[in-house]
């Protein structure tokens, strides 16, 4: 079976080079294999499945065969259709059987699909031998990532004979960096209020009055909690701490788990707002245990579970946080909490998933959160915050065009709701990124400038401003305006240093600054920056691919200075690092081309030619941009001509 020349192109456009490469494995199977095979295809969402199905249909069509997709529209169809599979072996014209049900774990009918998959796989497990005997073609099981552990668990016999597990995921090359940046800039989620405290000063004064009733200490605790939470809302941290500490001390002496739990919860909120997430976690755990012990309402326990999730999320423990947000959501649903509360927790659950890189699942929860908030007519700012998060989850999946729409909606909502300048600045920044990802650098530039102005107006932290300056610089650099980009990268670097950004983050900006210098022909200055960036990346244990990129840039700066043999060593190092880190074929092709150039300059024609050929193969394999391929072709022609001379 011949592979199509443009195999994986739509997948590459949608998810990047890594996904396209994964898809090549499926194509290779159809090219090389015969007979029954079990291929488990994991895709992020229904769109991914559709793309893959279309690709496979085209491949089979070219061989006068067809794909047989099983009709699965609702959860009960899945086990029913799958159980009848061995009784209806495919005809000779069928090239593959397609069993698809891709459901993100955040979808509303997830439970039904979960049960359906479980039952279908358990049934299929018993049919392993008939399937192997009766089917002359591959069966593709197409699902979301969560079916993998389930498959392993409930269908071990079938799993043990799998031919391939192919995972179509958004490209990871840029994801960590984007995530790192976005995490720092992520806006705070709004909170579900436990107690309304419109006048905390009044509550505090009342709490200080002499008490004449025997159980009056309990009332005092309630008043202090009310006062403390109100002060916290007004960002009066010191006063809030005084009130809440007193409440906690008093509550500890009472044998009232409900009051004690509430006081612990309130103090946990204070600690969390002060950035002391680990300590807050301890208090929320204690509070939740006490509230469960005394049979507090489901809604109330849901609020504490939500806060516990936040404290874990702030510590980077997103997987654990996810469990508590799910618990909170279940409790809120059990207790009939208003749609706004559910929307807020759904938003937080989405964040915890996104922090785990599970963007498609996060997307489902952000959509749900937005719907809940709209249903409850939540404030424009609150809806704006979630629209912004939804945009981010789409951007993580490489769906920049869709993301753009949500960032625009978020910006409009935040403006309507009078959100602070810093918050609007962050959204403008994200909108710029979505445009930049679409190659619309000029439009992106305008939004980055707006973001920078808003962040400065709102007194955003140095790190945040630095990150926006960095992306503004990138938008200029990609328009060929290196001299304008340079001061912005310098500004970003200064902000990163001022804000104590991690070594790897500073290294990324230094690398960008180096590029802007290199593009202006200032190779020796660039060299110094690339060397510094490489050292910082090594210090920060950055990924091999990232180090490979900087080593390649350093090589280019040396080559530009005519130091070809030094450059050669750097390019070799870069290539090894990129291979180690699994960098994309395009990226490796570019470095192979640079290495070839350094050899060409030194007169090693044969070796240079071999490298240009390797670079061309890599770039073609990855469908690299036409200008990159042209450049390599020109280099190859040059090497061939010189060798002939």
């Amino acid at each position: 079976m011949a592979a199509r020349q443009d195999d994986g192109n739509p997948l590459a456009r949608r998810y990047g080079a890594t996904a396209a490469k994964e898809w090549q494995r499926v194509i290779a199977h159809f090219m090389l294999g015969e007979g029954f095979a079990l291929i488990v295809l994991i895709v992020p969402d229904g769109d991914g499945a559709r793309l893959c199905r279309k690709e496979l249909e085209a491949i089979l069509r070219s061989e006068q065969q067809r794909l047989w997709p099983l009709p699965i529209a609702a959860p009960p169809d899945l086990p029913r259709v799958v159980s009848s599979l061995p009784n209806q072996p495919p005809g000779p014209d069928v090239g593959a059987v397609w069993v698809e049900a891709v459901v993100p774990s955040g979808s509303r009918d997830f439970q039904q699909w979960d049960r359906a998959w479980r039952s279908a796989l358990e049934g299929l497990n018993q049919q392993r031998n008939p399937l192997r005997d009766l089917f002359h073609c591959p069966v593709l099981i197409v699902g979301a990532p969560w079916i993998v552990p389930m498959f392993r668990e409930v269908a071990p016999d079938l799993w043990s004979v799998r031919s391939q597990v192919v995972r179509i995921e958004p490209d990871r090359d840029s994801l960590p960096q984007r995530l790192e940046t976005a995490r720092q800039m992520e806006k705070l989620g709004d909170k579900v209020g436990r107690i309304d405290a419109p006048d905390p000063d009044f509550a505090f004064t009342e709490a200080q009055r002499p008490l004449f009733i025997p159980d009056g200490i309990g009332d005092r605790v309630s008043l202090l909690v009310r006062a403390g939470l109100g002060m916290l809302e007004q960002r009066r941290f010191d006063e809030a701490e005084t009130a809440l500490r007193e409440a906690l001390d008093l509550a500890a002496g009472l044998e009232d788990p409900l009051l004690h739990g509430l006081a612990l919860h309130a103090f946990g909120c204070l600690l969390l707002d002060q950035g002391r997430a680990s300590k807050a976690e301890t208090l929320f755990r204690q509070a939740l245990a006490l509230l469960e012990e005394c049979g507090d309402t489901a809604t109330s326990r849901g609020v504490t579970a939500d806060m516990l999730g936040r404290s874990l999320l702030d510590q980077g423990r997103a997987l654990e946080a996810e469990a508590f947000f799910r618990q909170a959501l279940a409790l809120e649903e059990e207790g009939g909490a208003p749609a706004t509360s559910r929307g807020i927790t759904e938003d937080m659950l989405g964040r915890s998933l996104r922090h785990q890189g599970r963007a498609a699942e996060a997307e489902a929860f952000f959509r749900q959160a937005l719907a809940s908030k709209e249903q409850a007519s939540a404030s424009a700012t609150s809806r704006g915050v979630t629209a912004d998060m939804l945009g981010r989850s789409l951007l993580d999946q490489g769906r920049a065009l869709e993301a753009e729409a949500f960032f625009r909606q978020a910006l409009a909502l935040e403006e309507e709701g009078g959100a602070p300048a810093t918050s609007r600045g962050i959204t403008a920044d994200m909108l710029g990124r979505s445009l930049l990802d679409q190659g619309r650098a000029l439009e992106a530039e305008a939004f980055f400038r707006q973001a920078l102005a808003l962040e400065e107006e709102g007194g955003a932290p140095a790190t945040s401003r630095g990150l926006t300056a960095d992306v503004l610089g990138r938008s200029l650099l990609s328009q060929g305006r290196a001299s304008e980009a340079e001061p912005l990268f310098r500004q970003a670097l200064a902000a990163a240093e001022e804000g104590g950004a991690p070594a790897t983050s500073r290294a990324i900006t230094e690398d960008m600054l180096g590029r802007s210098l290199l593009d202006q022909g200032r190779a020796s200055e660039a060299e110094a920056l690339f060397r510094q960036a490489l050292a910082l990346k090594e210090e920060g244990s950055d990924t091999a691919t990232s180090r490979g990129i900087t080593a390649d840039n350093l090589g280019r700066s040396l080559l530009d200075q005519g130091r070809a043999s030094e450059a050669e060593a750097l390019f070799r190092q870069a290539l090894a690092l990129k291979e180690e880190g699994g960098a994309s074929a395009t990226s490796r092709g570019i470095t192979a081309d640079n290495l070839g150039r350094s050899l060409l300059v030194q007169g090693h024609m044969a070796e240079a030619e071999a490298l240009f050929r390797q670079a061309l193969a890599l770039a073609s394999e990855a469908n690299a941009p036409a200008d990159a391929i042209d450049r390599i072709r020109r280099d190859l022609a040059c090497a061939t001509n010189r060798a002939a001379e």
Partner: protein, 457 residues
């Protein structure tokens, strides 16, 4: 360099050679691993015991998934046929529902029924000959209901209800496998008639022996292999009931499974070993230990040689050079794949197939990075690992034993799942020991460490 048509032909050839399927006896791909490593050859062991056991015996044979059970059973069949035995083979999954508990009465019926079907296949169908299903139909209708009608009238009613909708013996066969209610209704009736059922089953086997001897000669010795019974495991909801039901059969009713004048070989679930330790002797296929049972997991060179030879059998010397390039790089890449297969042939074949598939979209010989990508993909098949699982797995890696907290159904089943999915590997060299799969060692330690840090916080 892009692949040309000759490269593609080559890759197609080795992709086919690396297919994971049971090997027929005499296959050029068969690696005589037990012989080379000086381990007990399970096939030799069973065939010798059958020979020594005289006219009848019962043998239990097992192995975790991908350990080569079917290949070894085919070899056993060939070996026994070579010694003059008449070997009948049946697939238990044709007759039993692996997801549901099984009862001794079910097993006796399907055992005789499977023997009957295998006999039909070997001797040719004969309409005048009574199949076991016909005989069972008659047994249930005439022998049980009429015989007991006068004594215990209540038998008639349930049996009428149970059998009322069935038209004949063949219906019984399908109902026994697929209809849970039918089996559940039949059991209480038959359990009180176990002795009669056993007698009727034995009589059928004896009639079968007569037929075989009439066709094959008076001295013909018969072996009946009942394969795939090890697939009994239940679903996540029914697994504990299934485990208990199988345990009950082999602990209490093993004698009833002995067939007169026939050597029977049952493949049984490997977890029986943990449920009934030292009560039922089972020949259990082990994994090849690529490392020794010492702290450093030192290299076991003879085992590595076996795997290198296995790869060479499938790909050929020239093929290896074409796929992995010249030495010494070639050996390095091959050894990388062996190092992460955990001693499982099936895992190694899958990994090499993936390397071949990846090569089809790249160049030949393959780059080291391509092999690393294939290994990383194989690792992801094991992930994520739950925290509780990681803790147990870490214990297994530390003590090199099962660390089974009890022989209750739940932990036994969890351990069986670890073994079947190759998270845990079972070895025998001198004595039995266990370890975790090399692909998950780091991940397991990371999860345990993260859990400990979280607990400290």
């Amino acid at each position: 360099m892009a692949l040309d048509s000759s490269d593609r032909r080559f890759l197609r050839q080795i992709y086919g050679n690396l297919t994971d399927k049971p090997l027929q006896p005499g296959s050029a791909f068969y690696e005589p691993v037990y012989k080379i490593l000086g381990l007990d050859d399970p096939v030799q062991q069973i065939s010798t015991l059958i020979d020594f056991d005289g006219v009848q015996s019962i043998r239990l044979f097992s192995g975790f998934r991908g350990s080569g059970k079917t290949t070894e059973l085919l070899r056993l069949k060939c070996e026994l046929e070579g010694q003059g035995y008449f070997v009948l083979y049946a697939d238990a999954l044709t007759y039993v529902n692996a997801a549901e508990p099984i009862d001794i009465t079910d097993l006796l019926m399907v055992l005789a029924g499977a023997f009957s079907d295998a006999l039909e296949e070997c001797l040719g169908a004969d309409n005048s000959r009574e199949t076991y299903w016909d005989r069972l139909w008659a047994f249930l209708h005439r022998e049980v209901t009429l015989k007991d009608a006068g004594v215990k009238l209540e038998y008639q009613t349930p049996l009428k209800e149970i059998l009322g909708g069935l038209k004949g013996g063949l219906d019984l066969k399908f109902e026994l496998k697929s209809a849970t209610t039918f089996r559940e209704n039949l059991r209480p009736v038959l359990i009180n008639k176990l002795k009669e059922l056993k007698t009727s089953v034995d009589r059928f086997f004896e009639d079968g022996i007569r037929l075989i001897r009439a066709a094959q000669g008076e001295d013909t010795r018969v072996v009946f292999i009942f394969d795939q019974l090890e697939q009994l495991q239940g679903t996540l909801q029914s697994e504990q009931d299934v485990i208990r039901s199988v345990e009950r059969i082999f602990a209490t009713h093993l004698d009833l499974l002995k067939i007169p004048r026939i050597h029977s070989v049952f493949t049984v679930p490997p977890w029986l070993k943990f449920v009934l330790p030292n009560t039922v002797p089972i020949t259990l296929l082990c994994t090849v230990h690529l490392w020794e049972n010492d702290e450093a997991r030192s290299h076991n060179e003879p085992a590595w040689a076996v795997f290198r030879s296995l790869i060479e059998r499938r790909i050929g010397k020239e093929g290896l050079e074409r796929l992995f390039g010249p030495q010494p790089g070639q050996q390095d890449l091959i050894d990388r794949t062996i190092a992460v297969c955990g001693g499982h042939f099936r895992d190694l074949l899958r990994l090499l197939r993936d390397v071949t598939a990846r090569a089809a979209a790249a160049n030949l010989p393959v780059a080291p990075s391509l092999v690393i990508e294939a290994i990383n993909a194989a690792r992801r098949d094991f992930l994520p690992i739950a925290r509780d699982d990681a803790k147990w797995l870490a214990d297994i890696a530390r003590v090199r034993a099962t660390a089974l907290p009890s022989t209750e159904a739940a932990p036994v089943n969890r351990l069986a799942r670890f073994l079947n999915s190759h998270f845990v590997l079972y070895f025998v060299n001198g004595k039995e020991w266990y370890d975790i799969h090399p692909l998950i060692r780091e991940e397991v330690m990371d999860v345990v460490q993260a859990a400990a840090s979280a607990a400290e916080d």
